[in-house]
Amino acid sequence: MFITYLRRELRHRRKQTAVVAAGLAVAIALVMVVSSVAAGVRDAQASVLESVYGVGTDVTVTQTAEPGADGGGPGRFDFGAQDGESSDDGATRELSQSQLGLARGTASFDAAALDTVAGVDHVTDAAATLTLESTSFSGEMPDPSQATDPGQAPTAGTGTADGADGGPDGAGGSSFQVDRFTVTGVDPAADAVGPLTTVEVADGRGLEAADSDAQVAVLDAQYAAQADLAVGDTVTVGDADLEVVGTVTSSSGEGVATSADVYVPLAVAQALADLDGQVTDVYVAVDSASNVDAVAAAVETALPDATVSTQSDLAGDVTGSLSTASSLVQKLGTALSVVVLLAAFGLAVLFTVSGVNRRTRELGTLKAIGWPRRRVVGQIAGESAVQGLLGGVAGIVLGGVAVLAINLAGITLSGSSGGGFTFGGPGAGGAPGGTDAAAQGAAAGPGGGGGPFGGAAEAAQQAVDVVLHAPVTPWVVAAAVGLALLGGLVAGVVGGSRAARLRPAEALRSLA
């Protein structure tokens, strides 16, 4: 009788059933889309973080440069009057100089921190790296000895010269380029955590334990292509020419750059940068997600000057369209979902109460002939719950189609991470740590607007592009059904309690 009565009532009130179910369906679909997109954005953020910090990194330890201290970045290029080689006509001198140092805004700290971190409870792996920036200057400048007024000799990096004559253009101008790339010194033996966990060898080989003191380098494949370098060539890092033994690509996706342009053994990087016993980053893996915060706290206590970041802290540092999407989903999406859900619930309650009011005589009659209160309430609640379920099923279909459309649209989100880590490519490093790669790339280095710096375009490629994939998990479907059922039950309880309060005599009298 329950099922028969319920089915007949819902069929009899098709329009009301359709409106309530449609309202709930829209709300459920919206919740599904927001949940799925939020999960997709979270996955994308994780992808970005993994591509930068490596798989399995739960905590990172860095140290931010003190204001006013030597916070890295390229220094001045100073040339003596007799430096370089004079051109055949004597008007210009060919000059080149290379510098290797900490990236701007970063600071190095004692590598003993690695042992300190490794000794903290629940830490399963730890690896230290030294992130550097190589900046090289090469080009032709007017020969100062040819200048009519020595006081007018161009200074390095201005990109222009006021000499009346001389220079490559014969009018006192200059032609030079500033090339920069990031260099990360890694421990070749520590492969469980750190930036090399998200790279795959594209050509040649990766760094091996035996390379700890070897003058070798592994290049990011994209950088290698831009710099026209291949396995067997040499790359100049600081004052040393290192043999390129391999190229690597990111395992995060095709076309995604790795976190550095050049990877060298840690000891080699320390020696070349004159930073023996110094590191810039420590990557930490923790045995359980529940212990991450405890480990972070313990490391902060052990290393009071360090900046300790967990994955959730780092997620906040992801910038770019990914950050915008995340913010949009979290704030607008959630608010919209709540509003629409409340509206749908309200609609369901309103229609149910209105239905109960219209059926006062009917429900009063059932009470008069002996239907217990719980049976009457159950009937109303059952009808509402089924309406909710119908809305839930329709919402899942609607939401599924919307999510499918989003996935088929192949929305690409661009994300990069800051927070004191530098991972920009060529041209990066103009701005202090904490800015995104594009901004870093856009910032010109010394030399102003003169030569072919090739900064912004290359740096933009360092931002990780991730195609948004919004997953529909069983949890999302269960939550959708649960919400729909909840909506139906809320309406049923409100409507049912109204029906329960009806005294049969009043119910019959009101319409008699």
Binding site: T365, L366, A368, I369, G370, W371, P504, A505, E506
Partner: protein
Amino acid sequence: MYQIEGLTKTYTQGKRTVHALQDVDLTIADGELVAIQGPTGGGKSTLLQMLGGLDRPTSGRVRLAGDDLAAMDDARLTRARADRIGFVFQHFNLIPTLTAQENVETALVPAGTPADERARRAQAALAQVGLAERAGHLPGELSGGQQQRVAIARALVKEPAVLLADEPTGNLDEATRDDIVGLLEGLWTQRGLTVVMVTHDSVVARRAQRRLRIAGGRVSEV
């Protein structure tokens, strides 16, 4: 069947207090067919609601086969209505979305009667009121007289001790009225039911075994 003592019912309508029943004492014997007449607002329907446990008196007792309906809690009162009292209403009060048979079956739901037995008994009850062939029709597909027959079948399918009818012919034409009254008389005779019937219609009332008049909340024999 009923022993009523000092039955009083007052309620408020706005600022006005209405004395629907005032200190009513009444006894209705088993198997009696009683008609209650009186002016509109005289308390007829209120008395019927008290007899049926649809409402609670302000004071006094309504004993049904010795059990005081006024003293019962809601659950027991509901049980009493489900098992012992059948109702027939002026407006039939059928569930519009259920067929005639399903409407009759609703009276057996509170007792937890199995579905097949419910169907069998409902069909038998409909046959008894002459509507066996209309069992699958919705109320909207039946005439007023047929709807009231369905309502009577619903009231009797659970085999109650008492049948309370509130203006059972109030919405029917004369010919149909006579049919329905004849049906009620026949069932009363066959089953030995106690029937209490509120009516405006003197023709109907005259066919009762006993006639009561209620006016101003007070009951008197006619």
